[in-house]
Amino acid sequence: MKQFTILDKKDTRSGFGVGLLEAGRKNPNVVALCADLVGSLKMDAFIKEFPERFFQVGIAEANMMGVAAGLTIGGKIPFTGTFANFSTGRVYDQIRQSIAYSDKNVKICASHAGLTLGEDGATHQILEDLGMMRMLPGMTVINPCDFNQTKAATMAIAEHHGPVYLRFGRPVVPVFISEDTPFIIGKALMLNEGADVSIFATGHMVWKAIEAGHILAERGIDAEIINIHTIKPLDKEAILESVKKTGCAVSAEEHQLNGGLGDAIAHVLTSNYPSPLEMVAVQDTFGESGTPDELMVKYGLTSTAIVDAAERAIKRKKEVLA
């Protein structure tokens, strides 16, 4: 199992803030909008440097999506910022009609996704956003795993034409992707090559997958770990190539069981190469208040849960072969 160094500990939303500033410096058409959450979204640096290219929308997310769609018509590249809950479920129809169906070049940037939002509780902990966004035709859906990857993803989506949903989070987590790792939309990132089981992880679960890989290695299991930062378009080739080698898979995401990365991988496998797949995800329930770590443990989003899932997948593979 490859060793990963913790380079630093930072929140992914800060990666967005730095990436937005860099994207703004590179391209004068990059503009930003925020629905009264500038500090939470780490947009201050962009606003300070480009005050005329920032639009405060107030607590009016539906209008923010529409204004962003309109800004694209004159060639602007708008980045909207609010919590993931208010970036998706609250404004699904606005995204559907004014952005996705209208093919507008809007970058929907969503912080505080998932359980790790923490103490604010289930009203704000959206666990359905990846599902909603990946159902929309033409929508690109990205869930980076650390500060560096979020920064790189933010800069990459500014160069990509078309609507994008970029999901990141609140807590401080390990930074382990090197700064010079290129971010290629739709291209899975191989973290550790292995032979016994393929672990496909996204967002905050990627570091937990690496931790799981070490535990599995101690038990003599050689896990392949692949970072699926782009949920849509999904890197089917990378998934199939890996599972054809290992014969079984685990998905890990800070999202509902329904509609997320696991479902997307299940579709690829059942359509192309039916294989055992175990999903680590929230089991069709809402979250609650608590610290991020407490919640991840209570709802089964841990390295141990990934280890258990990997062992179940390997057992099923052996049963099939026997």
């Binding site: 009016a60 539906a62 529409g66 602007k76 004014s98 169906y101 209208s102």
Partner: protein, 290 residues
């Protein structure tokens, strides 16, 4: 700034009235042709679209999505698409013959307007109500960022004013001084389930926009071409002064076809063969039917 092909020199009042008659023929024939659609609001807004595209706007039928260097028009209450399609075709955006495909399979003229099929003249999908004002506001702000000194027009329904997003956009446009925008409410007093006063009373609608910080003009008869043009020429003089401009345009739903006028009953119903003949008898063919 790039040069813009102005599709036509401003028309005389008589020419505009003749075009309006043809557009109304197009609307009832389009809706009859497919057996469904929304003739009422489309007929009521005929003067508005004819005046914009044949007299008031500087626009380019050689369509470019970014619309830089020209005035833009958005339709928020997308269900009245028939009138917009007719006016776009008649002003050179696409062949008039294509009007016969409205709402049919494989058509660019979808039931509600969309960019998805690449129909020239359309810059956003609309039909799910309440979204067009926000998009128009964004497009107007992009013009300001681009140093593009042209106007953005947007039409909304009055029933559509029930939607909360309209008021988010109204608040935002005034706060951000989006003063290169002329928004119009088709104030026909009707929505699907009946008169707006019964379904959801708008009360003093102009006062609401004024309270949100808009410059508001009431157009008493949006079906009188002369009065409409005079009102919009006046509205243009109010742009660039720090406030968005709203026009409360009173129209008759179904205007121009006597048996369709003044009732919500023709909001979403197509005429049968006899009714079509009766309607066409009231509307002289001036430019040639599609």
């Amino acid at each position: 700034m790039e040069s813009v092909i102005q599709d036509s020199t401003p028309k005389t009042l008589e020419e505009l009235k003749d075009i309006s008659s043809q557009v109304r023929r197009d609307i009832v024939r389009m809706v009859h042709g497919v057996g469904n659609g929304h003739p009422g609001g489309a007929l009521g807004c005929t003067e508005y679209f004819v005046a914009l595209y044949f007299h008031l706007m500087k626009h380019n039928p050689d369509f470019k999505m970014d619309g830089i260097g020209e005035d833009l028009c958005f339709l928020s209450n997308g269900h009245i698409s028939a009138v917009w399609y007719s006016v776009l075709a008649r002003s050179g955006y696409f062949p008039v013959a294509e009007l016969s495909t409205h709402r049919k399979i494989n058509s660019r003229l979808q039931g509600h307007p969309t960019t998805h099929e690449g129909l020239p003249g359309i810059r956003m999908a609309s039909g799910s109500l309440g979204q067009g004002l926000s998009v128009a506001v964004g497009a107007a702000q992009a013009k300001k960022l681009n140093g593009d000194n042209h106007l953005v027009y947007v039409l909304m329904g009055d029933g559509e004013q029930d939607e909360g997003q309209i008021w988010e956009a109204a608040m935002y446009a005034a706060h951000h001084k989006v003063d290169n925008l002329i928004a119009t409410v088709d104030w026909n007093g009707q929505q699907i389930d009946g008169p707006t006063v019964k379904v959801m009373d708008l009360k003093d609608l102009p006062a609401k926009y004024r309270a949100f910080g808009w410059e508001v003009i009431i157009l008493e008869n949006g079906n009188d071409m002369a009065e409409l043009i005079k009102t919009y020429e006046h509205a243009k003089t109010l742009t660039g002064k720090g406030s968005p401009v709203a026009i409360m345009m009173k129209t008759g739903m179904g205007y121009g076809v006597d048996f369709m006028m003044g009732s919500h009953k023709w909001h979403g119903v197509a005429p049968n063969d006899d009714q079509l003949a009766q309607a066409l008898a009231q509307l002289p063919e001036t430019l040639g039917d599609f």
